[in-house]
Amino acid sequence: MFAVTAAALLVAMGLAMCRALLGPTAYDRVLALNNIGTKTVVLIAVLGFLNGRPDFLDLAIAYALINFIGTIAVLKYIEYGDLGAPSRPDGRETN
């Protein structure tokens, strides 16, 4: 049953990768990559059970942390053009 779940995860990741390659805006690509990262977390956990090595759950926790921080960093860079800028460079109010 873990193999079936892992196959479904791989198919879903392939569809999300299609959206990441096709996506017309950068936000589509970021959303698809964040989704692929979430599915990777679940896939690592499922593979740990599939191989009988639940130690993989530590890797899943670490990957969840990295995925979230990476997504937020990329989105902040896209929105502000700088990772350290407190507001927009043209002085416009952010909503």
């Binding site: 959206r19 805006t25 698809a32 964040n34 989704n35 956990a45 759950l57 926790i61 989105l75």
Partner: protein, 150 residues
């Protein structure tokens, strides 16, 4: 008892796989980034939640390492359920701030909102709606949104 737990694990894993595939299909077929966020959020919440719940039941029924494995599964689940809405909200905020319009609003402003705008019939077309035969086919939301800009 053991059989019931196995059946419960199967049911949870297959329900999670169903939600994963549905959300992935929505991410490919829905028309713009805001509607795709809906599909992605469903994948994060229900797909990952049900699959991790299935693994949780399996780890409880296996019985070995009773502390380590279920606690780590709950940690992963809680972390995903906290971070996924934050990431989705940040994506929506960045997209709105970056000038992406929701596709019904953009279609209403350009005056070519078809009657079935919410069905998402275009698999690859992002905000390219099929032009209707005449301008009078705009829906109710198109009337109220288009009136302000024109």
């Amino acid at each position: 008892m053991d059989m019931a737990l196995t059946v419960l694990t199967w049911a949870l894993l297959m329900a999670g796989a169903f939600f994963l595939l549905t959300g992935a299909l929505g991410m490919v077929r829905l028309p713009d980034v805001f509607t795709r966020m809906h599909a992605a959020g469903m994948t994060d919440t229900m797909g990952a939640g049900l699959i991790l719940a299935g693994l949780f039941v399996h780890a409880l029924s296996a019985g070995d390492q009773l502390v380590a494995v279920p606690v780590r599964l709950l940690l992963i689940l809680g972390f995903l359920w906290f971070t996924s809405p934050i990431a989705t909200h940040a994506t929506a905020k960045a997209a709105l701030s970056g000038g992406v319009r929701p596709f019904t609003l953009a279609a209403a402003e350009s005056g070519d909102l078809p009657e079935s705008a919410g069905s998402g019939e275009e698999p690859g077309g992002a905000r390219q709606l099929t032009p209707p035969g005449d301008g009078s086919g705009a829906g109710q939301s198109g009337e109220e949104q288009g009136g302000a800009s024109s």
